[in-house]
Amino acid sequence: MKVLTPTVLTYLKVVILVAVVPAIIGFVVVLAERRLMGFMQARLGPNRVGPKGLLQGVADLVKLVTKEDITPSRAERAVYFLAPVLAVIPALTALAVIPFGPAIRIGKVKTTLWVTDVNIGLLFLLAITSIGVYGIILGGWASNNKYSLLGGLRSAAQLVSYEVPMGLALVSVLLMTRSLSMVEIVHRQGRLHLWFIFPGLLAFFIYFVSGVAETNRNPFDLPEAESELVSGFNTEYSGVKFAFFFLGEYAAMIVISCVAVTVFLGGWLPPFPHVAALKFLRILPPLGWFLIKAGLFLFGYIWFRSTFPRYRFDQLMALGWKWLIPISLANIVIVACAILATPGRSNGMFVLSYIFGGLFVVMFLLAKLRQKLARRERLAAIPASAVE
């Protein structure tokens, strides 16, 4: 009798993901972030626990678990207890529909590198990630602390505001994918020999900016804004509950990165697989390519954090409602028109790639020019006596 039936394998994958992803976050991602930020700020970062600081995660775990777990006397006890759990569930569950690789076989066992391929994958992801706001707003509310309440409210307003441009950016990609299934989206990019980042360059930028805002990361980390809200929604939380809020945030970052990789960067496909000169790139297994791409996104998150200063709340709202929403609506119309105006199955996508590529180059050059002019102006403003 066979033990490893498809059903058993599916649940095995579920267990592995639930066990491995939090471990990766705790032992690898957090350490990588702290060390990278250290290097970006000309310091070392944690390097004491274990060789090169590799065991920092273990030390953090021991500390967080043994720390006294305080429930403030005026808190709503049940909600206060459940909020961190509620922050973790949707962020982890979203991983169920992410295809980390194609169907593979190990020895005699055939399996797929995704848990389940539901035909409304992308819609499911949007739906489940938006549940994450409950954990944060309920945590902020149940603490009965002024800073926490403000942090929770800000977070709710921010998350719902950026949910809209994120959904609209994905709609413009759906015009090209013609499917909501995550696996089918990757297969289609393989068949077209074109990653959707090229025709969907604008959508990609909108998606990533909204994604950073959705996960409450710098420069949009107003819900925690330690300089004004003393850490915001999690002010009252300590010990493991605090740790799970962080786990939820990092898991959400991973989900946003994985969705970006799947939808825009060809998922597990190596770059330009149809170009003969680049055939050697196949030596890396598909899963490896997926992890490299997702890792690049996580690196981007960390890079953002040590590069950009925090937005003000009114600027944040203006960026979401007055810039990203109209741009993403216009983007949908542009993509739809391009697909309709060009004959053939996929010519519109190549036309769009050239349009957005050209636009990107022009904007980049304009930004460079502006920088140069501003510099010249600054230099001209310095009185001659000051230059010695």
Binding site: L153, A157, M317
Partner: protein, 118 residues
């Protein structure tokens, strides 16, 4: 529906992980509560008002209402986008009409300064 069962199991396991850890941690840690420690974090002096007694800006509510309008619109766009290659020109014109109505409402909201935060 069999596609969705693993997701449900996933969600249950994802819930079990934090719950179990919180309960295990409870057994490992020492607890020495005192009244000052259990106060809401503020400045160390006994608080006179508490967060849930105070009021907050109505703009948060406004943003939530606007979100519902725009999110429902996004949901309408999803099936349209997936079926677009079959709907063709008819689909494009239909969606342009829908978007025009929406954009008129959007500019009305903008003009009424509902999107400004000051």
């Amino acid at each position: 529906m069999s596609d969705y069962l693993p997701i449900l199991v996933f969600a249950l396991l994802a819930a079990a992980l934090p719950l179990a850890t919180i309960l295990i941690a409870r057994a490992l840690q020492s607890r020495k509560p005192n009244p000052a420690k259990l106060e809401p974090y503020e400045c160390g002096i006994e608080a006179t008002t508490f967060a849930l007694d105070t009021r907050f800006s109505v703009r948060y509510f406004l943003i939530a209402v606007l979100f519902v309008v725009f999110d429902v619109e996004t949901i309408f766009l999803f099936p349209w986008a997936v079926m677009f290659n079959r709907l063709g020109l008819f689909g494009l014109i239909e969606m342009l009409i829908f978007l025009t109505i929406l954009v008129i409402g959007y500019f009305y909201v903008w003009k009424r300064k509902a999107l400004d935060w000051a």
